[in-house]
Symmetry: C2
Subunit: 238 residues, 2 copies
Amino acid sequence: MEHIPLEEPVDLLTGLATTRAIRRYTAEPITDDDLAKIMFAATRAPTGSNRNHFRFVVLRTGEVAHQAKALLGESFRSSWATKRATDSYDDGSGEIDHSPKARMARTMNHFVDNFESTPVVVLPCIRKRHGGMGDGASIFPACQNLLLAARGLGYGGVLTMWHSPVETELRALCGIPDDHAIAAVIPLGRPQGGHGPVRRRPIQELVFDGYWGTTADWIVEPDGTRHTQAGPPPSRDG
Amino acid sequence: MEHIPLEEPVDLLTGLATTRAIRRYTAEPITDDDLAKIMFAATRAPTGSNRNHFRFVVLRTGEVAHQAKALLGESFRSSWATKRATDSYDDGSGEIDHSPKARMARTMNHFVDNFESTPVVVLPCIRKRHGGMGDGASIFPACQNLLLAARGLGYGGVLTMWHSPVETELRALCGIPDDHAIAAVIPLGRPQGGHGPVRRRPIQELVFDGYWGTTADWIVEPDGTRHTQAGPPPSRDG
């Protein structure tokens, strides 16, 4: 796999194209200064009517953070065990399997087994207004800004929803009021090893010109674009 | 108001901090090449399990785009009329009022009155899985990437939800299948006039250290950070 170096400064368009999920972290903490920049960037994202009804609980060290990471670690391990079985991650050819699915399974094992050591865990919260997907429009842009800023400073993370089995306990532990949803959990740290390429489905499957299914033939992917096999192909699941 | 020039290339962290809602566009079209870059950046955003179950219908010229923009224009005008009344935008001191609310009202009037002339309108769609906010985690990061890429290339846009009154007609017009939600509408174009500063609530209201309400005193906002009065203060609405 080619590796994209994480040097600064990163150009905006390059950053957008090279920010990928990072699930293996070194033990290095994130400095106050860098974390402040990351959180500042997160809060520059838009919210409906610029209402700023997003809130972020940042878990680093200390007793509450320690307990919250442990609670989340249990939840992540059980969520991954379920997904591993449901999505047939164990159907490969064992430990030496180099398929993308086998590599992903090893990464996920490492991720959940070491969750408690994650340097920083951010809980992005949103005050509930309409319920449903619309509330997400005021928090997930900020989550993306957060991940992009981390990338810009040489860190990485991943947007996960695996807190849901323990949301009630997590809410109590961190004092999150009932009228706010915990929209996601974002672990952050310095990437272990290389930062591989972002892989997506071919863009002609994703972007349509003027009408659903009409090919946008004016889009040509940049040279070197890598594709994923993740997710069912469009013929079965489009 | 100070204006941030839109020259290239924009540094990633700068781009994150200076991308704001743009609602006044020149008549200049977005070139195929730039629009391809914007859509490529959008599709580099994460989706749950890298499932890539987001789709984007790009409306530019042609009969369907023309009809869709007209349908959305009606919907935006009626949504703004409702908001204008509900949120007391008319309580200011008339046309010469320079309050932020009065300025916003003038911008919104211009935005909805000229919606049909918007160079590009993107409909970000997401295949419905769980319903609720979680589905938004796989589409709103891409919306943010899209807006950031537009910023990086000297364009601007805004994430809006004002298609909801006409979602059924819009879906029929653009051939969007029933199992996909239209998550938002993103108009895009070259900004008219200057690109003002991003204004948010003071960051200490938004980011907490380890526990809800605990001040993150390691965060200092950069010099020149501008605050908004938008949205109710936290004491009434936090």
